[in-house]
């Protein structure tokens, strides 16, 4: 029997828009943002409801006329969602820019989707030199001032710090559950765990924390489910879409013990300090995140991070999710794959995209990879 909290959060993770409409009816002003790295604490401290817009697996109807078909399906489906499927929900938007696609998406979005608030968030695309910190500080202050103008209020240091405490709490519990999941395979399914994270990107943090606080003691008391977990995987990429992907891993008895996904670790790693300047704390937090393919950093941090995850968590292999037309991954992959294999670590690259995925084939492929691993045979 699945825990009622898990069931409820799974339902929200799979379709959050009824819930969002309810908040809208209650008079909450909703600010949608796209991936990655928007400092939601600022939005929260401004008295607004932050929500991460994560695309849709429903068909592309209108976005195709605005973004060519060789653009990444995350961008296209996110645009489609607000153009066609969930219209009129959002009061405003914050669109972070990390590459060519997100830069254009920001322009198209601003022109096509009416809203009373719109800001691009120009995150630094290099993080290997001191200039990037000052830049992000300037840009985050600009976002803060823009939110203040929009709400005709002030985001005080005190209120921002309270938001930081709330968000840190959420991240800490999720990281704690991740650690328990690694320690006790089968304690919580991959699908359920990653849906906890996804639902956190959707729900008000106060409410999400309440759910997690109910769930945590129950997980702590629970014994392993007895389900077999043959293998431990690190999952790399951007997003774990479509959701059935995690179900496939569950069915194959594979425990996800680490990841570098925007809808995974990147959302919950690193806390902001509650001392000193809170805007500076959010900026510092940004620089404590792991590597992300579009953002240039010194050395090959993507490789180093994956190797580190594998070793730290005793993983048997890496499942790399290549999001179709997400260009920066395509430049990383050949070298990355070669280097990982040279280290004797098995890696399987799975092409994914929003909208279409051949589940049976995907399962067969992952299974074939799993069976090729030592200890992977059934």
């Amino acid at each position: 029997m699945e825990d009622p909290v898990i069931s409820e959060l799974s339902a929200i993770a799979n379709y959050p828009y009824d819930m969002l409409r309810e908040y809208k009816r209650q008079g909450r002003r909703i600010i949608g943002s796209t991936l990655p790295d928007v400092p939601e604490e600022l939005v929260h401290a401004a008295g607004l409801l932050p929500f991460t817009i994560l695309g849709t697996n429903r068909p592309i109807r209108r976005a195709g006329a605005l973004l060519p078909d060789n653009s990444c399906s995350l961008a296209r489906s996110t645009l489609e969602l607000v153009l066609t499927y969930e219209t009129g929900l959002f009061d405003g938007f914050i669109l972070p820019q990390v590459d060519d696609t997100t830069q254009h998406l920001s322009d198209i979005w601003r022109r096509r989707i009416p809203s009373s608030f719109f800001e691009p968030y120009l995150v630094p695309r290099q993080v290997d030199r001191p200039s990037s910190r000052q830049w992000l500080l300037d840009e985050t202050h600009r976002l803060k001032e823009s939110l203040e103008r929009y709400t005709a209020g002030v985001i005080s240091d005190g209120s921002l710090r309270r938001s930081i405490v709330l968000y840190n709490r959420n991240r800490r519990i999720l990281r704690r559950i991740y650690a328990m999941k690694r320690k006790t395979p089968g304690l919580i399914s991959n699908r359920a765990f990653f849906e906890l994270i996804k639902s956190s990107m959707f729900l008000p943090k106060e409410r999400h924390n309440r759910y997690l606080e109910q769930l945590l003691p129950r997980l702590e008391q629970e014994l392993p489910s007895g389900r077999t977990r043959n293998l431990r995987f690190v999952v790399a990429g951007v997003v774990w879409e479509p959701p059935s992907l995690m179900t496939i891993l569950d069915e194959l008895g594979i425990e996800v013990v680490g990841d570098d996904l925007c809808t995974g670790t990147r959302y919950i790693e690193a806390d902001a300090s509650t001392d000193g300047d809170p805007v500076g704390a959010l900026v510092d937090r940004h620089f404590h995140r792991g590597p992300f393919s579009p953002i240039h950093d010194k050395g090959n941090r993507i490789l180093a991070n994956l190797l580190d995850l594998v070793r730290q968590h005793g993983a048997d292999g890496i499942l790399y999710l290549r999001l179709k037309f997400f260009e920066s991954q395509d430049y990383d992959l050949p070298d990355l794959k070669r280097e990982i294999q040279a280290q004797g670590i098995p890696i399987y690259v799975l092409d994914t995209e929003y909208q279409t995925i051949h589940l049976a084939q995907t399962k067969t492929r992952i299974q074939a990879f799993a069976e090729s691993l030592p200890g992977g045979g059934t």
Binding site: A65, L66, L67, P68, N70, S71, Q97, D99, D100, T101, Q103, H104, L105, S106, D107, I108, R111, P120, L122, P124, R125, Q126, D128, R129, P130, S131, S132, Q134, W135, D138, E139, R142, E145, P294, H296, N300, F325, E327, S328, D330, Y331, D332, L333, P334, D335, K337
Partner: protein
């Protein structure tokens, strides 16, 4: 050696040929002469390299040469085998393929000691140069230029950020060579760069004449020098000669590129490099000539040598590919007005996401503001496998027929 007859001065074409040979020769000899080679991107503050006696080398230019020789399918196939996909930029695929097969129209490029990727032009370059940086174990400096959004405060911050990075870059160049950077020398280089850019812009603006003495195909040939030799006296001399030549031989005599000029076209995006000669011939049969594009204007910078760092930051951040869509549309509309353009070909370039992804929106603005319909076609700037001859010909024919019908 160039052939010179009697006392006549060499023509621009000859000068270009010599400059190109000298430039690549110098780059090839760099290592034995104890000089450093930096790979850099076409839109980047290359003046810093010139001022510091580091030779800037442009893998993009070399990739264009590979494309023009139609080597791209072979080069690309070599790296597709290594796991790179065909939907990456054709420049990147040509370049990485050249490094795999060591096939080059000019005997190759020297290896880099340093790489600079400025993302004002596109983001792909960063990722492509990361691959090269790993391959050659050479440091990569990413000059990050956030989108130059139309917000005064953001712009002030952006320029401050880019200036800070230029100082970081200067520090990196000092580390590379062990020499102090000479700011007076930078001012001299920037003065030369300003002059070459001014002349280059005058050259582009010859397209205002009716009939136009130049087409975009002339520009695509003559732009190479502004890309890789700006900041040198040779570039200034070259564009002076070129201007004089066209003024004397064409403008003064009222000679146009075609003698039945009817349609003066704007071209959106980069060229289909491997087809541009054929395009030019095909278009002239309709009385049409492509005069300009925002792409070729990307090197008409306006530097202020008295404030070099700020001026570099502003010029390289405000390029058309890094501004908001509306501002890019205004830049294009300015060309429509100044050159009296009455046709619009919009190329959706599979290779270039940075220029292409906003193009549907751009089309809407341009069509609304000019009343000129646009011909939109999809292909690739460098890979003939994505080019359909029949489709392009049919579309062009239909387009000119509709312009005739609309009496444009």
């Amino acid at each position: 050696m160039t052939k010179e007859t009697g006392t006549s001065k060499p023509g621009a074409r000859e000068i270009m040929k010599r400059l190109t040979q000298d430039y690549y020769g110098e780059a090839a000899r760099a290592r034995q002469e104890g000089r450093r080679v930096a790979y850099t991107t076409a839109v980047s503050p290359a003046e810093l390299f010139v001022a510091h006696d580091v030779i800037p080398v442009y893998p993009e230019n070399h990739a264009v040469m590979c494309i023009m020789r139609r080597m791209t399918p072979t080069l690309s196939a070599a790296i597709e085998k290594k796991g790179y996909t065909t939907h990456l930029c054709a420049y990147a695929r040509s370049d990485l393929g050249y490094r795999e097969l060591d096939e080059s129209p000019i005997g190759g490029l020297p290896d880099p000691d340093f790489l600079l990727a400025c993302n004002a032009q596109c983001f792909t370059l960063t990722k492509w140069f990361e691959v090269l940086s790993r391959r050659y174990q050479a440091p990569l400096f990413v000059l990050d230029t956030p989108q130059y959004i139309r917000n005064d405060k953001a712009r002030r911050n952006i320029i401050r950020y880019v200036e800070a990075q230029i100082y970081e870059l200067i520090g990196a160049l000092e580390d590379l060579t062990g020499r102090r950077f000479d700011f007076d020398r930078l001012r001299e280089v920037l003065t030369l760069s300003r002059e070459a850019c001014r002349l280059y812009k005058e050259f582009l603006d010859l397209a205002r004449h009716r009939p136009s003495p130049i087409s975009i195909f002339d520009v695509l040939i003559h732009m190479a020098i502004i890309v890789y030799l700006r900041g040198t006296p040779q570039a200034v001399d070259y564009y002076q000669t070129l201007l004089e030549e066209i003024r004397t031989e064409k403008v003064a005599k009222g000679i146009g590129v075609i003698n039945n000029e009817r349609f003066r076209l704007y071209w959106e995006n980069l060229p289909v490099w491997f087809k541009f000669r054929e395009h030019s011939e095909l278009l002239s049969s309709y009385g049409a000539v492509i005069l300009t594009s925002l792409y070729v204007h990307a090197w008409s910078y306006d530097f202020d040598p008295s404030d070099p760092i700020r001026s570099l930051a502003e010029n390289y951040t405000g390029v058309f590919s890094n501004v908001e869509l509306e501002e890019r549309a205004e830049m294009a509309l300015d060309l429509f007005r100044r050159y009296a353009l009455n046709g619009n070909i919009m190329f959706l370039n599979r290779s270039c996401k940075a220029v292409t992804f906003g193009e549907h929106e751009l089309r809407e603005i341009l069509t609304r503001e000019t009343g000129v319909p646009a011909l939109v076609f999809e292909s690739d700037m460098g890979d003939p496998r994505f080019y359909s001859e029949v489709q392009v010909k049919t579309r062009l024919q239909a387009y000119f027929e509709s312009l005739e019908r609309l009496n444009i």
